[in-house]
């Protein structure tokens, strides 16, 4: 981490390694219970404040959780932001609401089934008490508004509600019009009521309905549907810091949308070659810069990250910067290209760094340095001899996500057997922890305490560390490729990680 000009002010050595503890679990499996395919979590995302968490699953549902430990204070949001709020307790969440975001569909033109699985969820700018989020499956992006609504309990009606029927002029014409004694229906007759019909003081017998109940419930409404813009499967969506646009990326193209306009989008990146046989790489992930509304990064299946500047031109076929690690000579094998494919990228909160995840490693890049990553972390190096097996059972194509802590000092990503790793990326930090998504996260942890015996190399920029001991097998646990921890998210301000193991959502704090 000596690449940047302004090294993060390191007070006195690296921060202490965190001691992770189990916090909560939602949807825990009882021993022997079979996981329903539709319940498997496929997306996790905290909102900007960290007060809300959303998960999406393969059944097209979105579940929202809200933080309970800060909400009780009755302090306004602004005050909370201002004061340096000392956290006495770790964040706790509770189930808030859920809704069916996507349904399975069938594209008749292409004879293609469209799964309802939620690929990504992104929060948008909150306004009033309403929450806004974008969710997407392979083809269609939806904009949701979740809002508290008063439950209506109306009293004091003018007419007996049991007898009153719709006024018929706009409602379904099939509903019977209330007949008056003289047999005529009153359809539209109030249009003919002239001014003199009403006495100057009004009609005292008329009353306004009164809403008595003050109870509220949460209602999710789909505000907009952004469809028919992607020929291939959407792998990412990302909302922009300008609060009015977002991007959606599929294998070959990235489109730019205005949140208010669902009928058109602008293609900003197109890597589709004129001849599909010339196709050598696809887009795997894309994200907007957290503060500069004109910058976005996307990763490719060849292991490169491109930073583009929307200001330069309307169609951003040429990148502003390319981040690629030069291939180590002589290390090429059949799997080199497959495992180089980047499955996820994330900007750090300040936008200075980009974290990328490929099959075997996590890499941290400084956007001011495109010659190579400032740090590389091995995720599961012990799997390298098993690449052949992993290729055969397709596991090698699993797309693991990655995340950074809000302070940018640590990174995390998932692995197999429901394990995930947290590594320190501050200069000099050797922190590296393996945790299991279970109620006892340290259960299977191999001893990987800091190893002072291995001095930090100041010559090579690339710091490699982590457990290179091949054997968690030494613990007697064989690795299970079917239980993989693909999705996880770090709370934006605190040390809290939410991760998905099949249908269960586990949270850990430190």
């Amino acid at each position: 981490m000596h690449g940047g000009d302004e090294v993060v002010a390191a007070p006195a050595g690296p921060p202490q390694p965190l001691d992770w503890k189990f916090s909560q679990v939602f949807g825990e499996r009882i021993a022997g219970e079979e996981v329903q395919e539709v319940d498997i979590i496929s997306a996790i995302e905290f909102d900007k404040t960290g007060d809300h968490l959303a998960t999406g699953d393969r059944g097209g549902r979105v579940v929202l959780f809200e933080r309970t430990d800060t909400k009780d204070h009755g302090v306004s949001r602004r005050d909370l932001e201002r004061m340096d709020y000392p956290i006495s307790r770790h964040p706790e969440f509770r189930y808030k609401t859920e809704f069916q975001s996507h349904e399975p569909e069938f594209d008749y033109l292409k004879s293609l089934e469209i799964e309802e699985k939620i690929n990504k969820i992104r929060w948008c700018q909150t306004a009033n008490s309403a929450l806004f989020l974008l969710s997407t499956n392979d083809k269609t992006i939806k904009f949701w508004k979740v809002q508290e609504k008063k439950i209506k309990k109306i009293s004091d009606m003018n007419l007996d509600p049991s007898k009153a029927v719709g006024n018929g002029s706009v409602a379904s014409s099939s509903s019977p019009k209330p007949c008056l004694v003289n047999g005529s229906s009153f359809d539209g007759s109030y249009n003919n009521l002239s001014n003199d019909f009403f006495p100057p003081g009004g009609l005292p017998s008329l009353r306004l309905p009164v809403v008595t109940s003050q109870e509220t419930n949460l209602v999710a409404r789909c505000r907009r549907v952004y469809g028919h813009a992607h020929d291939y499967h959407i792998n990412s969506i990302s909302s922009n810091s300008d609060g009015e646009t977002f991007i959606s990326a599929d294998d070959l193209r990235i489109n730019l949308w205005n949140l208010e306009i669902s009928s058109q989008s602008f293609n900003i990146v197109d890597v589709k070659p004129t001849n599909m046989e010339d196709l050598t790489e696809v887009i795997t992930s894309a994200e907007f810069h957290p503060t500069h509304c004109n910058m976005l990064a996307y990763s490719s299946s060849k292991g490169s990250i491109r930073l583009i500047d929307l200001r330069q031109s309307a169609l951003c076929d040429s990148h502003a910067k390319l981040f690629e690690e030069p291939e180590a000579p002589g290390s090429r094998s059949f799997f080199t290209e497959i495992i180089a494919s980047i499955s996820d990228i994330k900007f750090s909160k300040d936008g200075r760094h980009i974290l990328s995840r490929d099959y075997m490693t996590l890499k941290l890049w400084d956007i001011n340095m495109d010659s190579g990553p400032v740090a590389t972390f091995q995720v599961h190096e012990y799997l390298r001899p098993k690449l052949c097996d992993l290729y055969e059972n397709d596991s090698i194509f699993d797309k693991f996500e990655c995340c950074l802590s809000g302070d940018g000092l640590r990174v995390a990503t998932g692995s197999y057997s429901n394990l995930f790793r947290v590594c320190g990326c501050a200069p000099g930090s050797t922190e590296s922890t393996t945790l299991e998504a279970s109620k006892n996260p340290m259960r299977r942890q191999v001893q990987t305490p800091t190893r002072p015996s291995r001095p930090l190399s100041s010559i090579t920029r690339v710091v490699r560390r982590g457990s290179e001991t091949p054997g968690v097998d030494a613990n007697g646990n064989s690795f299970d490729f079917t239980t993989k921890l693909l999705h996880l998210a770090w709370h934006p301000t605190e040390n809290l990680i939410a991760c998905a193991a099949a249908n269960s959502l586990y949270m850990y704090y430190a």
């Binding site: 706009v170 009004g202 509304c293």
Partner: protein
């Protein structure tokens, strides 16, 4: 439940449905809010209905939008202008909702209400509300507040005016880009209400902040403010303060900002006056015409005529024309197309000699462009050049271009050129048309695509209108009628349609002598579709021709068709007979 008199029943239902489960019924009630208000009377409207609506802020967006709109014209129902302030609370809550269109409508309605309020009420109610919104916890309130300053400011006492200016400047520096965008959008309106001395001292710094914003989306909107502010300032101040901003915008890093400048630049020329235009804006515009980004060049090229109109022809020839030449061979077809759509308008500005010398080669090269839109755009504006240099110089190149477009494999291109044929005919004259274009017009009647045949039939009619029945009888009618013998029934149908269109233009005499016999003859066709179309055409001919002709030829033919074995033929024949009966009855 109260007992309601029978005549009140509809209004009672309307009121109850303000809270119905069905959104359509609620919407309906809200749209009839003025009726409800009249039924309740002014006082109860103020004391009950308005508070009731204020609480109703969690309804669906469609309902809120309708409510925001209704409240904008609600002053008469609450008791007139002196009570207008009671409308502010419900509109204030609507200014804070999440949905942009509702907020916009609420702001619009507040402006409308505020514009009618008495001065003391504005100070007592409107301005405090504005301040609340501007200090709102959520960005939605602050966004809305920006659009209300221009209503409040003129009525405010001096001290409040100072405060309002300060608040606005804070909004220009808000954390949220949405608020800054709204401040940028509304700056021009607000500035228009501000006294000249404050304009320079207070507004210009705000404007400068916005022009240097980090977010492209904010700077974009600041560009629009340039023209609005420029018009308010004295020319020398404008040149001193606005001009540098425009020049730097025209070199902004973001193509979107430059695109906005390209679109607006000509408006600014008027604001700054001729001298700065010559020295600064012309070079800026030239840079935009040569921009790296095609989108910017498209915008700039599309404004070339408007820009030249402001300059004198000498400046235009010297500075702009070389760029126009470059653009005519631009690598982007869209740039060439944008240029082609306006370049003909430069001819009157440059005058005859310069047009022949400089513009004509560009016209000719664009007429040979590989992209059909470019050629079409040139052809569509032919009349503008014709006035300056006459058509002869162009006609040599025009013909191949037209023929090629007429035979383009995309039917939409063919359709577009057909639309311009009457224009071309009028510009090129009868002689040219007879020689070259007549055959094309006939060829389109036999096109494979229905829309083209349809347009071709219409075109035949428009030509007859242009050149008169005499000419049409000689040059169009024989060829058209010839085609009635085409072996394909769809082409025969096109001819029937052409006949029905031509008949009103040609007049009774020619219709009887030339068109009618062909139609009558077609009633013996073996295809039922032709036969019922004959019935339809005959029906359309009845009002044109003489009653005696109707009796002698049309009716017997229709009677025969009304006994046809085919049900559709019988239907249309009967229909035609009935309409003929009605006409007879009316005339007798």
């Amino acid at each position: 439940m109260a007992m309601i008199d029978e005549p009140l029943y509809p209004i009672a239902v309307l009121i109850d449905e303000l809270k119905n489960e069905d959104i359509q019924l609620r919407l309906n009630s809200i749209r009839k809010l003025s009726t409800i208000a009249r039924a309740l009377g002014e006082e109860r409207t103020r004391k009950e209905l308005i508070p009731f609506l204020s609480e109703n802020n969690d309804d669906d967006d469609e309902v809120l939008l309708a409510m925001a709109e209704e409240l904008g014209v609600f002053i008469p129902y609450v008791g007139g202008v002196e009570y207008a302030n009671v409308l502010l609370p419900p509109l204030e809550t609507l200014c804070i909702v999440e949905e942009t269109c509702v907020r916009d409508k609420a702001v619009e309605s507040l402006c409308r209400v505020g514009a009618q309020m008495r001065e003391q009420d504005l100070v007592e109610f409107f301005i405090p509300m504005l301040k609340r919104l501007a200090a709102g916890e959520w960005f939605t309130a602050r966004v809305s507040s920006c659009g209300l300053f221009h209503i409040a400011y003129p009525s405010a006492p001096e001290a409040l005016k100072t405060e309002l200016r300060t608040i606005y400047s804070q909004l220009c520096q808000d954390d949220m880009p949405m608020v800054r965008r709204s401040a940028a959008t509304n700056l021009g309106k607000f500035a228009a209400t501000i006294e000249a001395p404050h304009l320079k001292v207070d507004i210009m710094p705000m404007f400068n902040d916005l022009t240097q914003d980090d977010q492209d989306s904010v700077r974009l909107l600041a560009v629009e403010g340039c023209a609005a502010l420029g018009k308010l300032l004295e020319p020398q101040d404008c040149a001193a303060h606005i001009l540098p901003v425009i020049v730097s915008f025209s070199q902004d890093k973001s193509w979107r900002v430059r695109y906005m400048v390209a679109n607006q630049l000509y408006e600014l020329c008027e604001a700054v006056g001729p001298e700065p235009t010559r020295s600064d804006l012309v070079p800026a515009y030239v840079r935009l015409l040569r921009d790296n980004e095609a989108e910017v060049r498209i915008a700039a090229a599309g404004k070339v005529t408007k820009f030249c109109r402001i300059l004198n022809s000498e400046l235009a020839i010297q500075n702009i024309l070389p760029c126009v030449k470059e653009l005519s061979t631009d690598s982007s077809q869209h740039v060439r197309s944008a240029l082609a759509s306006v370049i003909m308008g430069m001819a009157p500005i440059l005058g005859k000699d310069a047009t022949i010398e400089q513009l004509l080669p560009i016209f000719l090269s664009l007429l040979k462009d590989e992209f059909p839109d470019v050629r079409l755009n040139i052809i569509s504006k032919l009349d503008q050049v014709n006035q300056v240099i006459g058509i002869d110089l162009l006609s040599q190149s025009l013909l191949p271009a037209i023929v090629e477009l007429a035979e383009d494999r995309h039917w939409r291109v063919r359709l577009a050129i057909i639309e311009y044929i009457p224009l071309l005919a009028s510009q090129l004259g009868v002689g040219f048309f007879d020689d070259k274009l007549g055959a094309l017009c006939m060829q389109w009647l036999k096109d494979k695509v229905y829309s083209i045949r349809d347009a071709a039939a219409n075109n035949v009619k428009r030509l007859a209108e242009e050149f008169g029945p005499e000419w049409a009888l000689q040059h169009i009618v024989p060829q058209v009628l010839d085609m009635i013998n085409n072996p394909h029934y769809l082409y025969r149908m096109t001819i029937l349609q052409a006949i029905s269109l031509l008949a009103p233009v040609m007049g009774a005499e020619i219709t009887c002598s030339n068109l009618l016999p062909v139609v009558i003859n077609a009633s013996k066709d073996r295809v039922p579709n032709i036969k019922f179309n004959v019935a339809k055409v005959l029906q359309s001919l009845i009002p044109i021709v003489d009653q005696s002709v109707v009796e002698k030829s049309i009716r017997p033919c229709l009677v025969e068709l009304s006994e046809d074995p085919d049900v559709d033929v019988r239907f249309f024949a009967t229909q035609a007979l009935q309409s003929s009966d009605q006409l007879t009855m009316m005339s007798s």
